[in-house]
């Protein structure tokens, strides 16, 4: 595939001498999962953390396909959704028959549901990679989503199937009624799944996934069938997506057709890609960012999904390695101590860039109000500054900020490129490459 899937963490055989950064990253990750809900104690933040945890598992499972194996799927929600539905049916059966299965084991039901469907569907769809795989995943996604509306007794039609997580046997006195208990259930599975998925990248299969991603033709001449490699990768992705879907079902106590739909598949693609497919923790960062955007932006503006699309396009065009690769780009500069050389250029570029962004936002917002209200009157607030829609000044400001900001920003970003080149040259001279 391409640059964007290239920078997978590939430490060589230095198993005993993993660097400090490796342990630090995992340490920070685990501590954050465990401690954050104790710092932010409101019910709202516990709900947010739960959503982020589910999205993180789902995005990590998606990156087994996209980042590790180079498979772009437009239908990964199929396995998430089927995992969710099977989990709900499983929970209802456990409650109805009084089976001795506590809630923390339910995600396994979802995982195996995802795995079984991936085993069935994957063989045909992984025969080819690239664009054909992408189209097939889209077609199968639509097929399953449409079928779910026909098979009402299993999928519950438009309404979905509900369940009650507290009907299951309690474990160590936890009945998982309170959100904080659900959160820790999700956090537990997040840590377990993340470790398992990382370990997978360090196995012979995981290494061959990268080889298939880079050069499927050559793989055939070192004894491997790229189809089998893709298929196994697909099955693992289905398993972990199923776990995420089951956790979502536990969290919301419902599974409905939206779980398997194109929107859900699109969101996980956005999250994974915005976070960055080249680093293991990229999708986790993406899950945090996208979940926060979904929750926060939708409060502020009615056209939040448009911003979402614009951010995604911006990342594809200007930072195809995602946010993590933007951050990791600075590592050699940081090590070589040349980071201060680029900071002034950043600060200079920041001002017109922000003004440009404000201009775009203002233009979008007045357009939104204008076309929805129809009348073209009223005021909108941008960063608490009121703008009168009827006044031509508002339109003028938006135009000047957008166009002027764009040209000035483009000039200043050239300065950033120059400063960057200088800093990188010095860093190279000091022996820090990447």
């Amino acid at each position: 595939m391409t640059d964007l899937t290239s920078r997978a963490p590939s430490p060589t055989d230095s198993a005993p001498a993993r660097n400090v950064g490796f342990y630090a990253a995992w340490g920070i990750f685990i501590v954050a999962v465990l401690v954050l809900p104790l710092i932010f104690r409101s019910g709202g933040s516990h709900t947010t953390f739960s959503l982020i945890g589910i999205a993180a598992i789902f995005a990590l499972s998606y990156n087994i396909l996209l980042g590790q194996t180079g498979l772009l799927s437009f239908g990964h929600a199929v396995y998430y959704g089927l995992g969710g539905f099977l989990a709900v049916h499983g929970m209802n059966a456990i409650a109805a028959h009084g089976l001795p299965v506590p809630l923390p084991f339910v995600p396994l039901i979802g995982g195996f549901a995802g795995l079984v469907f991936a085993i069935i569907i994957g063989w045909v769809s992984t025969q080819r990679a690239g664009t054909v795989f992408a189209m097939i995943s889209l077609g199968i996604g639509e097929l399953v989503a449409s079928s779910s509306l026909i098979l009402r007794s299993f999928f519950g039609g438009e309404a979905g199937i509900t369940t009650n997580r507290t009907d299951l046997p309690a474990l160590f006195g936890w009945n998982f009624g309170p959100q904080i208990q659900v959160y820790y259930l999700i956090g537990f599975w997040l840590i377990i799944s993340a470790i398992a998925m990382y370990a997978l990248t360090r196995t012979p299969l995981g290494r061959m996934c990268n080889a298939v991603r880079d050069n499927p033709e050559r793989v055939q001449f070192i004894g491997y069938d790229p189809h089998v490699v893709r298929y196994l990768s697909f099955c693992f992705a289905g398993f972990f997506a199923g776990i995420a879907g089951a956790l979502a079902a536990i969290n919301f106590e419902i599974a409905n057709a939206a779980y398997l739909g194109a929107v859900q598949s699109g969101v996980v693609l956005f999250a994974t890609f915005i976070g960055g497919v080249g680093y293991f923790f990229g999708p986790v960062l993406g899950a945090v960012v996208v979940t926060m955007l979904q929750l926060e932006l939708s409060d502020v503006t009615s056209v939040w999904q448009l911003y979402f699309g614009i951010i995604f396009i911006g990342i594809v065009m200007f930072a195809p390695g995602g946010l993590t690769s933007l951050l990791m780009m600075h590592r050699p500069l940081l090590r070589a101590g040349t980071l201060p050389m680029v900071l002034p250029a950043y600060l200079i570029a920041l001002v017109p860039t922000l003004l440009f962004a404000c201009g775009v936002i203002l233009a979008i917002e007045i357009l939104a109000v204008y076309s929805q209200g129809g009348s073209g009157s009223g005021t909108i607030h941008l960063f608490r500054i009121p703008f009168d829609l009827a006044s031509p000044m508002t339109w003028l400001i938006a135009a000047v900020l957008t166009i002027g900001g764009f040209y000035v920003a483009r000039m200043t970003w050239r300065g950033v490129t120059d400063a960057w080149d200088r800093a990188m040259t010095v860093a190279r001279e000091r022996g820090y490459h990447a």
Partner: protein, 315 residues
Amino acid sequence: MLELIVISTLNGVLFGMLLFLLSSGLTVIFSMMGVLNFAHASFYMLGAFFGYQLTRWIGFWPALVLAPLLVGAIGMAVERYGLRQTHKHGHVAELLLTFGLAFAIEQVVQMIWGKLPMDYRVPALLDFPAFTIFSTNYPAYKMFMLLVSVVIFIALLIVLKRTRVGLIVQAALTHPNMVAHLGHNVGRVFMMVFGVGTALAAIAGVIAGPALVTQADMAALLGPILFVVIVVGGLGSLPGAFFASLLIGLVQTFAVSVNGSLASLFGPLDPSIGPSLLTDVWNVTIAQIAPILPYVLLVLMLIVRPMGLMGTRET
């Protein structure tokens, strides 16, 4: 019964020709540039909405010309400032760019025109029944749609067979690697191909708008079917796209008009079974499964003939 067959065939061919207006552009763009334009159906939707808006302002006939030109210009801008920039990051990045674009276009359309269907009417000139067949009036507008798509189909054939650009496109279809050797004007050729492809999609949108529903979700509904068409036809094959378009057009139209189910054929199941997957399957009508038929076809095709109907090459 005969009435049903005649009307459904007409409607099916019509829908198929509309699909071909879209899938031909998509196929040519894919063959030449290696980009599967995920936003292709979005340009179709833009065509419908521009057509609607321009019809209100200046009338249907100018809109029929202007809307595709506008959309083609947008398409060219997307190629010039978007895809060309992204090309260095590879085909997956390009595919993702068009994916993001499809999403953004849907949001913009929703922002400007809202989520409700538009009142996009058939022009008065064509608002009469063309002929009556077995007591069913067949609208003249549909015949007009058929005429437009057939004319464009023939025009495309002539361009492909008779002009220099057509020769380049044909060469690109059979030997995708040679596009790189076109020389210095390759950028302009790409931009033009992208512009024409999106303009064709927009024409389909302008003429389909009044007959079908002009609504912000029309791209999301049609897009996946379009991809089924070009995969079933065989990626990069224009004749394949043509036959697959007709096939899917006919299959869907017939399925919608047939109301049979297993239950109506064999009688209802024993009521003591209660609601289950089996009764779901037993009672579902063919009309209800019409939306999933293209995808079933896709899966069957992949199992039987992974190259597609007339595909010759691996990706």
